[in-house]
Amino acid sequence: MIHTLQADSIRLEFDGRIILSDIYITCETGKITGLLGRNGQGKSCLMKIIYGDLACEKSVRFDNVVQYEAFKKPDLLLYLPQFNFIPARLSLERIFSDFALDYLLFVNKFPEFASRRRSSIKQLSGGERRLVELYVIVKSKSQFAMLDEPFTHLNPIQVEKVRNLLLEEKCNKGLLITDHMFRHVAGISDHLYVLANGKTHLTKSEKEIETLGYARI
């Protein structure tokens, strides 16, 4: 069964400045939806609004059922924020146990973690830490996952592995991704939105990304 996540009728303003005004974004299970936009356009705000973390006028629906506080339902939606969110003192063993994930499967994909099981997450490098955070969110049971800058701090080999992981995992959930490494995002996305001037634009070609002023192709 295909599940849908839709967000629209969103209006966000800070100090009279309109950040988001004409938003329509839809995400389906089995698909990756990419969201691009220049700094300050409101990508992270949009994710926080969908997650229920940022209050404003909105309509966020899962299978046409309105959810104002999706963060209360991790079986529906998980969220990877753009910063480190796992308590620094927790060991990898504990983190994987909390998320009910098999550490050995993780090591099969990322052998460099074989001897790090008992390490606390603060002992890892920035890239390794991001990889663990990304993995637990992507692999945990949920209908949807939103990933805010998942490729940050990752080296090119890790980026390639993460791309494959996301493509693999999209069979199990719908993914909404935003990142400035737009070629990676565009390369794996089934649908690609560009957020510009407070509006979402569903793009059909790479040329449109340029037209909307996000990047030079």
Partner: protein, 102 residues
């Protein structure tokens, strides 16, 4: 199983201010032992205010960690109501024990 997991997560969160809070509680018990209920109002409000300070600092410096608990189904509200209730109940329990011991 789910309840045990939730308790484990709440305990992890509580460790953010457990040591500080225990020190405050002990520092309240010592004058209570010496002066009894004459000083109870002062230590009661002292404990309440320091719990408020804990709330402020954890919220300020550990707010990113809320996403960890949320992604595991434990809300900020549950984290705070359970830890503050436990902490204050422990404080009252120890006050009663000190009074009886005296």
């Amino acid at each position: 199983m789910r309840i045990l997991k939730t308790i484990k997560l709440i305990w992890t969160f509580y460790q953010n201010f457990l040591l500080y809070s225990m020190l405050i509680t002990i520092s309240c018990l010592v004058p209570f032992y010496n002066y009894g209920f004459k000083i109870f109002t002062v230590i009661f409000w002292f404990k309440i205010i320091t719990l408020g300070i804990s709330y402020y600092f954890v919220n300020e410096y550990k707010q990113r960690e809320y996403y960890y608990y949320r992604n595991l189904g434990v809300s900020k509200y549950l984290l705070w109501t359970s830890t503050l209730t436990f902490d204050f109940s422990l404080f009252i329990f120890l006050i009663i024990q000190t009074y009886q011991f005296k």
